[in-house]
């Protein structure tokens, strides 16, 4: 765990208390069975916004707290632990695109609404089933046309940050914007979003690297959610092994399982370092691209193994819907495939390093 300042510790404790008491995995089960149209509980989102979480990376003049990315990561990690369904990551990323690339006017118009939770934002970038950095959506005369695949939190979003061939645009939900459900195995909100001559406003700031800068943030914050998931799978698996008795011994006493847990513990340590390294890079402003690549690649690698081993080490009951551990597996693969598969990220790492 990174060394936190007082403000960060407070924030983390607040998030941990809230998820534990108000938004445990049971809350996700409720969302799953009640199927609210947004894909999350609007009440929970309202509470989160009231606690100021939607504005953590938004500057104070625009209604945010500007606590920074490490702080945002701490909250998202806690949400990951209990699989809390919310548009917090998506909204934070949309806000960061505006912070980086918006004009003063755009910032003044949108950031306060995102910070207050009044608006839910999301990134609508990829056009195919995998993140490949190719964007063909076109804007002519202020009207955007193109189709975006598997947009996270599309059902609740009213503001889309859209990657077109020539840059990023803001598009409001409304005329020319239509959704088609894409229900993935994590059963969260995903949709194909079609823009058919929708009114679009360009983000003209942020320079040539704006798109990549936003993607780096998406990778790091997603990795933070994955870190929470991996930590939780590890913790519940360890607990299970300590309690379950087989052949008259607790499973935790079997050396083969001890060594596998030691391996997972080492992997988890590396994942945490990589993710916190990414968050700290964002706060310091140095080496972000590389740190983002390392953070998401490590998150992919470790959560992949952790979610698989979590099931195996639970044995049969881990395969049942009644137990939570399967949810982490399903969500893990969706996040793994978002904003860069492991192989995409290795390619990017090599390119950044010049080989």
């Amino acid at each position: 765990m990174a060394i936190l300042n007082e403000e960060q510790e407070m924030l983390r404790d607040m998030a941990r208390n809230w998820t534990t008491s108000e938004s445990p995995v049971a809350a996700w089960r409720k969302v799953r069975s009640e199927k609210p149209v947004e894909g999350y509980s609007p009440d929970a989102w309202k509470t989160m916004a009231e606690m100021g979480w939607a504005g953590i990376v938004i500057p104070e003049p625009f209604g945010g707290s500007e606590f920074g990315w490490l702080s945002a990561g701490l909250v998202v990690e806690e949400l990951g632990k209990t699989l809390t369904a919310s548009p917090l990551v998506a909204t934070t990323l949309a806000a960061s695109a505006i912070v980086l690339g918006g004009s003063d006017e755009q910032k003044g118009k949108w950031l306060p609404k995102l910070a207050s939770g009044e608006r839910v934002g999301t990134l609508a970038f990829d056009e195919g089933p995998r993140h490949d950095g190719r964007y063909s959506a076109k804007v002519e005369g202020g009207k955007l046309t193109g189709t975006k695949a598997f947009v996270h939190e599309a059902h609740g979003a009213t503001l889309f940050v859209v990657a077109a061939a020539d840059g990023l645009y803001l598009v409001e939900k409304g005329d020319g914007v239509s959704l088609s459900d894409r229900k993935l195995t994590d059963q969260r909100s995903h949709a194909e979003v079609t823009f058919n001559g929708a009114a679009a406003e360009k983000l003209t700031g942020g320079g040539d690297t704006l798109l990549d800068d936003v993607l780096d943030r998406a990778r790091i914050l997603t990795a933070a959610e994955m870190l929470g998931m991996a930590q939780q799978v590890f913790d519940v698996t360890l607990d299970y092994l300590k309690q379950r008795v087989q052949f008259n011994q607790v499973l935790a006493s079997f050396q083969a399982l001890q060594h596998r847990m030691a391996d997972l513990f080492g992997d988890l340590a590396m994942m945490r370092s990589a993710v916190e390294g990414g968050l700290e890079a964002l706060d310091s402003g140095f080496g972000i691209a590389r740190a983002a690549t390392v953070a998401k690649a490590e998150a992919n690698r470790v959560l992949h193994t952790m979610s698989r081993e979590g099931i195996q080490l639970h044995g049969g009951i881990g395969m049942t819907d009644e137990y939570d551990v399967g949810f982490y597996l399903k969500r893990a693969r969706v996040l793994e495939a978002s904003w860069g598969s492991t192989s995409y990220l290795r390619n990017r790492f090599a390119t950044l390093a010049g080989y």
Partner: protein, 403 residues
């Protein structure tokens, strides 16, 4: 090198091949071409239409659904070579074996070995005709891999046993007609106090609750026995022999889980063919993503090597006689590779390979996701990989525990 030819055997085989072709020609309904085996699926039964029924009955009448079982109990009485020819010809014609399931894969071979003459005459023919579904009553809530810890008790009541207790992971319990179960008949002896018996699922006192799995399906049940009367003639072998018979059955299960049955079903098309559908190819027709191409080749080389191992195990056990200890190795390897394949498949398809339901996904994409999730069970059931590792280390390699 010269191979010794056996001209007479060969001509007999040729004649048999002709017989099979003619049979298929006459009996296999063309509308079923390319369809799978419904009854054998652990995912649950599908409705049997008139064509399916006719085909099953035709195969059942010949005993060709269980081609190597003895004719006297309704089997085909074929040699392994003939059974192979039968499979080849069915594959060529797009036909399939309509008779399968746990009765065929596990219970039948075990009963043929341990059952009484009366039991064989009663139970084997309906299995051979594909009329009866069997389920397995092994695991209990506190006896997963640790079967010696069984609690379900069968009390001796003279002409019958009175069975009480709870089983779990009963495959297809909600659709099964009968259950082969291991139950405790003696509380004072952990291993020798277990017996193998047959329970009618329609009997009063049998209650079944499907378990929902992470794949969204419910192929297994919790099964509760409350004062269920089981006639003494349904005891297989002797009282106390359940541990021996039960383990033998597990060897058949392992062989099926890895070598032929489930694994092959899980596999389907070559990964590379699917990859060519989902990923770009370059001017040479190769996958443009060289890293993914390397990983697919890595998998397919090991899969090839696994298939060769399964084949070798069959040859060796034939040479040695009986089921080989290598079944543990095959179960461990085959299930691991199956899971690897499912993960690779998802990665090849990207988010398109993670669809749960609704619009935007093809049937094969959706079933791929369910199979990926369900496949996580393959390294847990039938003796988990950890248990197989213990068996290999101790029984095969002679690495003994601390005494």
């Amino acid at each position: 090198m010269a191979t010794l030819a056996e001209p007479q055997a060969a001509s007999t085989d040729d004649a048999f091949r002709e017989e099979v072709r003619a049979f298929i020609e006459k009996n296999f309904p063309p509308e079923l071409k390319g369809k799978g085996n419904a009854l054998a699926s652990v995912e649950g039964p599908t409705q049997e239409g008139p064509a399916e029924k006719a085909w099953r009955e035709a195969m059942g009448a010949r005993g060709w659904g269980v081609p190597t079982w003895p004719k006297e109990y309704g089997g085909g009485g074929l040699t392994r070579k003939q059974a192979h020819i039968l499979n080849e010809e069915m594959a060529k014609a797009g036909a399939y074996n309509p008779i399968g399931g746990m009765g065929v894969m596990m219970f039948g071979p075990t009963l043929l070995e341990y059952g009484s003459e009366e039991q064989k005459r009663e139970h084997i023919p309906p299995i051979a005709r594909g009329e009866i579904r069997w389920c397995q009553g092994y695991s209990e809530p506190n006896a997963g891999s640790d079967l010696a810890n069984l609690q379900t008790f069968a009390e001796d009541k003279g002409d019958h046993y009175l069975v009480n207790g709870q089983k779990t992971w009963t495959s297809g319990g909600q659709w099964a007609d009968k259950c082969f179960a291991i139950v405790r008949t003696d509380r004072s002896d952990k291993h020798n106090g277990i017996s193998f018996m047959l329970i009618d699922m329609k009997d009063p006192g049998v209650e079944v609750r499907p378990i929902q799995m992470i794949s969204g399906m419910s192929p297994f049940c919790e099964t509760f026995f409350t004062d269920v009367k089981v006639p003494k003639k349904n005891l297989v072998g002797k009282e106390g022999q359940g541990w021996t018979i039960g383990k033998r059955l597990l060897q058949h299960e392992r062989t099926n889980l890895s070598g032929g049955g489930s694994m092959a079903r899980l596999m389907g098309n070559a990964l590379s063919d699917i990859a060519k559908k989902y990923l770009e190819t370059d001017e040479n027709g190769e996958l443009a993503d060289k890293v993914m191409r390397d990983r697919i080749a890595d998998f397919e080389i090991r899969w090839q090597s696994f298939l060769l191992t399964a084949k070798r195990a069959v040859e060796e056990s034939k040479a040695a006689g009986g089921v080989s200890e290598i079944s543990s190795v095959l179960k461990k390897l085959g299930t691991k590779l199956g899971q690897e394949r499912a993960e690779l498949l998802i990665e090849i398809q990207g988010l398109q390979g993670l669809g749960w339901e609704g619009e935007g996904f093809s049937d094969s994409e959706l079933s791929g996701v369910r199979a990926w999730l369900f496949g996580k069970a393959t390294t847990i059931y039938g003796g988990s990989t950890e248990i197989q590792n213990n068996i290999i280390a101790k029984r095969v390699l002679g690495m003994l525990d601390h005494q």
